[in-house]
Symmetry: C2
Subunit: 336 residues, 2 copies
C-alpha cells in the first residue's frame, strides 16, 4: 500500500471540500474537518480521514443533517443541553464549548448534555480543549451494542468510551480516552482482515464460547476490559449518556440503525469542573505536578496523552501519511 | 472458628458502645455505628465490625478525632466542602447529605468535597442514600499507595474505589463500588494467611516480577484491573479525590501514615445529578427500566447491587454471624 504525505492544512482542506461537496454547509464542514484534522495530527488515523467515506454515505442518504443548527438550552444552573439537530457532533461542540466553560467557572461543576448528534470521532478532542482552559473534563458516549455485560454472552453495551482531561501547569493536559471493550472494534476488524489471531479474552463467538478468531468475535460479542469492573463502567456510561439525558441506550441505537456503516444518532455528556473553585486555587497546580513527577519517576510509566502529544509534534513538523487509495477515494467522493 | 448470631440492632449497639467507650461523642459514635451496621446488614463483613478494633487504635492514640464537628462551606453554587475535623467520615456524610441533595436538585449537578476525614468504610453507603432520593451519585476516594501504574512495578495509586448509584422505579438502586486493584487487598491478605496461591495477574513481587504468592504481592505491588485502562481510572480518582480538592494523593497518604493499622486522613468527592433536571423528567424512569429489563434478559447477568440487596433481606430476617473471637475482642475494647 503506497502512502502519500499531506500537511495538516491539506488534510483539513481535503476533509472540508469533501464534506462541502456532500451536503454540509460551511459551518458544519469546518467543524467536522477540524475534528478529523485533530485526529490525523495526533496519530488517531482510525478517527481521521478514514472515517470520512462513511460520513459521506450518511450525508448522501439523508441520515446526517449537513446543515444542522445546534440549539443550546439551559435546563438548570449547572446543566446545558445542546440539541445537535441531527448533525455531526463537531459543530455542536464548537458552538457550546464557551457556554460549558462559563457554566463550570460560575457553578464550580457543570454538565453539557448533547442530544440528537452523530458521534463517530474520538472523545479526547471533546475534553482536551476544556483542560487547555484550566478545567477538568469527563466525557462519555454510547454506541451500538457490541459488548457483553459481565456474566453474559450477547451484546448489550456499546463500546462506550470514557474520556478524561486534567490541566497541567506548563505542559499539554493529561488526557485519556478509552473504550470499555478489551480491544477497539477497529483493531478486531483489522485482525480479521489480516487473518491474525486475537489475544485471549477479547471476545466470545456467537455460541458464547471464548475464541481468538477475530471474525468469530465480530459475529459474536466483545468482552469488557477487566471483567465485571469494566462492565460496571460500561453501565455507568449507558446511564449518563443515555438514561440521564433521554437519549437511546446502546441496544436502541442498534435497533434504530440503518446499517449504512455511517455514524449513529445518540447522545453524549461532558462534565466540566473548575479546580479554582474547590478551595485550593493557589496550590492545586503545583500539588498535581508533584504527583505527576512521582508517577513519571517510574521507568516505563507515561502520563495518558503523552504519546499522542509527541505524535502531534511530528505531524506539525512533517505532516502525516495516508494511503494513496484513501486519498483517491476522498477526492472521488468530493467531485462526484 | 465459632460464630455467634446478632440482630442488626445488637450489631449497632455493639459498635456504638465500643466507639463511645473509646473517645467518640454520641453523634460520631451513632454515625459510625450506623455505617458499620449497614456493612454487616449487606454482607460486607470486611467493612463491618471487623474494622472496629483498628478504629479503636486510632481513636485511642489520638489520630482520629472522636468528637469531630464537621463544617460545611459553600465554595460555589455547585460545590460544597465538608471539613470532617479529622473525624470518622460517617458523621460528615450524615450532616452534609441533605445539603448535597438540595444543591443537586437546584443546580442539576453538584459535588461534595469531603476533606480531613478518615475513610475506612465501603463507598456504596455514601451513594446509595442519594439514589434512594432519586439522584444519580458517583463517589471516589484515594488511599495509601498499593497499586502500580500501567507500565510500572512500584506502588503509586491507592486502591482508589469508585462507586456509582442510579435510582430505580420500584426497586433498590443499581449500585456498584469497586477498587481499581484486580483483587481487594483484604482478599490478598486472607490468601496469605491461608497460604493459598493467587490467580495470575493480581500483582508483582518486590522485584517487579509476576507472582501468585500472596505474601510476595503484599511485599511488592498490586496491579490495576484491565491493565492501562484500570490505571487510567485510578489516575482519575487521584485527580478528583486529591488534586481537585487539596487533599493528599495516595503517596502522600502513605508518607503521612503512622502505620497504626487504622484509617488514614484524606479526601473524598461525591458528584450528585438530578435526572429530573435533564429534560426527560416524565420519561427517564421507564426508559431506564426498559434497559435494565434487557440487561437481565441474559442468563447469568445481574444488576450491580442485587446480590447485596438479597443479602440484606436475609440479615433483616435472621440477623448476621460474626466470629465469637471478634465479638469478645470488641466487648473487651468497650470495657477497657
Amino acid at each position: 500500500m503506497t502512502d502519500i504525505n499531506l500537511t495538516l492544512k491539506e488534510v483539513r482542506r481535503l476533509a472540508f471540500d469533501c464534506l462541502l461537496a456532500n451536503g454540509c454547509d460551511q459551518a458544519n464542514a469546518e467543524a467536522a474537518a477540524d475534528n478529523i484534522t485533530m485526529a490525523e495530527r495526533d496519530g488517531y488515523q482510525s478517527h481521521g480521514l478514514f472515517r470520512l467515506p462513511a460520513f459521506v454515505v450518511s450525508l448522501r442518504n439523508g441520515k446526517v443533517n449537513g446543515k444542522a443548527v445546534p440549539k443550546i438550552d439551559t435546563l438548570a444552573p449547572g446543566v446545558i443541553r445542546i440539541n445537535g439537530d441531527k448533525g455531526i457532533v463537531a459543530l455542536a461542540h464548537q458552538r457550546s464549548r464557551k457556554a460549558l466553560i462559563n457554566r463550570a467557572r460560575e457553578q464550580g461543576i457543570a454538565i453539557a448534555a448533547l442530544t440528537d448528534i452523530f458521534h463517530m470521532a474520538a472523545l479526547w478532542p471533546d475534553v482536551e480543549p476544556l483542560a487547555e482552559q484550566g478545567l477538568c473534563a469527563i466525557a462519555m458516549t454510547s454506541s451500538r451494542s457490541f459488548v457483553a455485560p459481565a456474566g453474559g454472552v450477547r451484546p448489550l453495551f456499546g463500546t462506550n468510551p470514557l474520556a478524561f482531561a486534567w490541566p497541567r501547569k506548563d505542559a499539554p493536559p493529561v488526557v485519556f480516552d478509552q473504550a470499555v471493550s478489551v480491544m477497539a472494534r477497529g483493531e478486531v476488524q483489522i485482525a480479521a482482515r489480516d487473518d491474525h489471531a486475537l489475544p485471549a479474552g477479547v471476545g466470545l463467538d456467537a455460541g458464547g464460547n471464548p475464541t481468538t478468531d477475530p471474525q468469530a468475535v465480530l459475529d459474536g460479542v466483545m468482552l469488557p476490559f477487566g471483567g465485571y469492573k469494566g462492565s460496571s463502567i460500561a453501565l455507568m456510561v449507558e446511564m449518563l449518556a443515555a438514561g440521564l439525558i433521554g437519549q437511546p441506550f446502546s441496544p436502541e441505537i442498534s435497533a434504530a440503525s440503518n446499517n449504512d456503516g455511517g455514524p449513529e444518532l445518540g447522545g453524549q455528556v461532558i462534565i466540566a469542573l473548575d479546580p479554582d473553585r474547590f478551595g485550593d486555587k493557589e496550590g492545586w497546580r503545583d500539588h498535581c505536578e508533584s504527583f505527576f513527577e512521582e508517577m513519571l519517576s517510574q521507568d516505563g510509566v507515561r502520563l495518558p496523552g503523552q504519546r499522542r502529544h509527541a505524535q502531534r509534534e511530528t505531524a506539525l513538523a512533517n505532516g502525516i501519511e495516508i494511503p494513496e487509495t484513501l486519498h483517491k477515494e476522498i477526492l472521488d467522493l468530493s467531485s462526484a
